[in-house]
C-alpha cells in the first residue's frame, strides 16, 4: 500500500505553549479512510493544519503525495488537499452558495465559462444545486458543510481532510455528511482523513490512529483498537457501541469475543448464539 502522506519526526509547539508534538511520525495510506482520534487539545487539528502548510513546521518533514511541505510546494499541496473545517459558519466565503463554490476556482484563475460548468457539476454531486442562490444565513449547518464539500470537489483534490467537520451537526446531519463523503471518496478515488472524536464514525474507517498528548498511541485497523474499552476511556475517549454491548454481555456471563465487531458482525454473532 502506498503512503500518500508521510509524517517524519515532527516537533511543534505554539508560541509560549507546551510542546504539542515531539518526534511525531505517522503515515496515511492512499485510497483509504483514516480516522485520527483523540480528545480535545491532543493536537489533532494542528496536525491537519501542518499537513496543509497552514502552520509552519519547526522541525521534521511532511511529504504529501511526493511533495515536501514547504513554501515552494505549498500551492501544489493545497491543490491536492481539500479541507472541511469544524465550524460551518467560518468557512463560507462567498455571498451565496454558488459564489462560495466558485471561490477556490477564482483563486486558481479558472475562466468564467469553465467555472460555471464546474460549479453546477459540484453542487449537483452534493445535492445543493437547487440552493445555489441561497445566502449562508438561510442554510442549516449540514447544508453549509455540503457546500464546503462541493467547493472541494470543484478543485478535484486527491485527499480530503475532515477537521471535526461533523462535530457541530446534529446526529442526522452528521450521518448525512459522512455518507456523502463516503460516496464522493468512491466516485473520485480519494483518500480521506477524518479528525474526529466520534468513535462510531472512526469504527467504520479503514485505519485508525489514536493520538494522545502529541504521540501516536496506536495506529491500526479498527478491529485491533476498539476491543479494549478501558484503554479508550483512559485517554478521554468513549468506546464504540458494539464494544460496550459486548462488554455488558461479558459481565452477564456470556462468553463474548474480546476483539472489535462492527454492527453487522455483532448481529451475526448474536444470531449464532441464540440458534
Amino acid at each position: 500500500m502506498k503512503d500518500i502522506i508521510q509524517i517524519k519526526n515532527i516537533s511543534f509547539n505554539y508560541p509560549d505553549q507546551e510542546r504539542l508534538f515531539t518526534n511525531f511520525s505517522m503515515n496515511i495510506h492512499e485510497g483509504e479512510w483514516t480516522a485520527i482520534i483523540g480528545q480535545n487539545g491532543s493536537g489533532k487539528s494542528t496536525l491537519a493544519r501542518l499537513i496543509d502548510g497552514l502552520i509552519v513546521l519547526k522541525s521534521g518533514q511532511i511529504v504529501v503525495d511526493g511533495l515536501t511541505v514547504n513554501d515552494e510546494n505549498i500551492f501544489d499541496i493545497r491543490n491536492k488537499i481539500g479541507m472541511v473545517f469544524q465550524n460551518p459558519e467560518d468557512q463560507f466565503v462567498g455571498a451565496t452558495v454558488e459564489d462560495d463554490v466558485a471561490f477556490g476556482l477564482e483563486n486558481r484563475q479558472i475562466p468564467r465559462e469553465k467555472m460555471q460548468q464546474i460549479v453546477e457539476n459540484s453542487l449537483k454531486q452534493v445535492g445543493m444545486w437547487d440552493f445555489r442562490d441561497r445566502i449562508p444565513a438561510n442554510l442549516s449547518g449540514g447544508q453549509k458543510q455540503r457546500v464546503a464539500i462541493a467547493g472541494i470537489i470543484a478543485l478535484s483534490p486527491k485527499i480530503i481532510i475532515l477537521d471535526e467537520a461533523t462535530s457541530m451537526l446534529d446526529p442526522r446531519g452528521r450521518q448525512e455528511i459522512l455518507k456523502l463523503v463516503d460516496k464522493i471518496k468512491h466516485d473520485n478515488d480519494l483518500t480521506v482523513i477524518s479528525i474526529t472524536h466520534d468513535i462510531d464514525e472512526a469504527a467504520g474507517a479503514d485505519q485508525v490512529i489514536v493520538v494522545n498528548k502529541g504521540k501516536v498511541v496506536e495506529a491500526d485497523q479498527p478491529d485491533k483498537i476498539f476491543g479494549d474499552i478501558n484503554k479508550l476511556t483512559s485517554i478521554g475517549l468513549s468506546a464504540p457501541f458494539t464494544s460496550e454491548l459486548l462488554s455488558a454481555l461479558r459481565k452477564r456471563g456470556v462468553d463474548s469475543p474480546s476483539q472489535y465487531l462492527n454492527d453487522q458482525r455483532l448481529i451475526t454473532w448474536i444470531k449464532q448464539l441464540i440458534s
Binding site: Q39, N40, G41, Q86, S140, S167, M168, D170, P171, R172, H197, I199, G236, L237, S238, F241, E244, L245, A248, L249, K251, R252, G253, V254, D263, I267, I270, K271, L273, I274, S275
Partner: protein
Amino acid sequence: MDQTINFKQVTHTYQAGTPFAQNALSQVSVTIAGGSFTAIIGHTGSGKSTLVQHINALLKPTAGEIKVSGRTITPATTNKNLKQLRKHVGMVFQFPEKQLFEETVIKDIMFGPKNYGVSDEEARLDAKQAMGLVGLDGSLQDKSPFDLSGGQMRRVAIAGVLAMKPEILILDEPTAGLDPRGHKEIMDLAEKLHQQQGMTIILVTHQMDDVVDYASDVIVMDQGKVVKHGEPKDIFSDPEWVYDMHLDLPSAAEFACRLITAGVPLKTIPLTIDKLADAIVGVIQGGQSHE
C-alpha cells in the same frame, strides 16, 4: 418555592403583522413538573429554543400565558421587573462560552450575582461555590477566561449561571462540540444538580442517549407544537413514529430494532445498553431452555 412551569395555549409568532410572519409555537399547552429532569427534543426548527426562551421571558407569547413559580407571563408583560424571574430560571445558551467578557474567571462568574445587588464578598463566595460545582480548580480564578481550553470556558459560563442560584436550569445543547469526556462531565453535572440540589433541569438536546440516560420526562416538539409528553420509554416505544418526527432512536434501541429485523426475538425495545444486554441474555437462556 413551587418550580412547576405551566404553558397555557401559548402561541408565538415571529415578525407578526408582516408578510414574513411565522408561527414558531402554536397553542402549546404543557406542564413541566417541578423537580423533574425534562428533555425537550425535536428536529431543527421545531420550536424547542423558542419554547424554553418563554420560561424566563426572553420571549413573550403572542397569545396565551406561562406560569412560572407564581409569576404569570402574558403578551402584556413588560420588560420591567423580570429580574427576579430570570434569577430564578437560569439559562445556559448553546455555546455559552461566547458570552464571557470579564478579565478574570472569578469576575465573570460574579457578574450575574452582582447584577442582583449582592455584595462583592457574597458574590465572590457564590462564584467560588459555583466553580466547585462545575469542577473548576480554584487556581484558575484569576486567569483570563480567554486563556482556558474550550471545555473549561464552557464550565466558567455555566458557573456564571449557577452562581445566581437558580432553582430551574435550562440547558440548550450544553455538550455541542465537546469530546466524549467533556460531554460526560457536563451531563453528570446536570444530574448532580438535579439530585443533590433538587434543581428542575430542562435539557434541549439532539442526543437521544442522553435523554434515556438522564431524563425522567420527555417533551417532543414538531412544527411548533408539543406532539408527545411522557417518560422516555413511552416516547421511544414506537420506532416508526420516532422516525416520522425526524428523530433518532437511542443507540441501544436502534440496535435492538436491527436485531429484531434480523430475526432475534426481543419482546420489548430496550433503551440502554444494560437493558439490551439483559434482553439478549434472556433470549439466549429462553432459547436454551427450549432445547
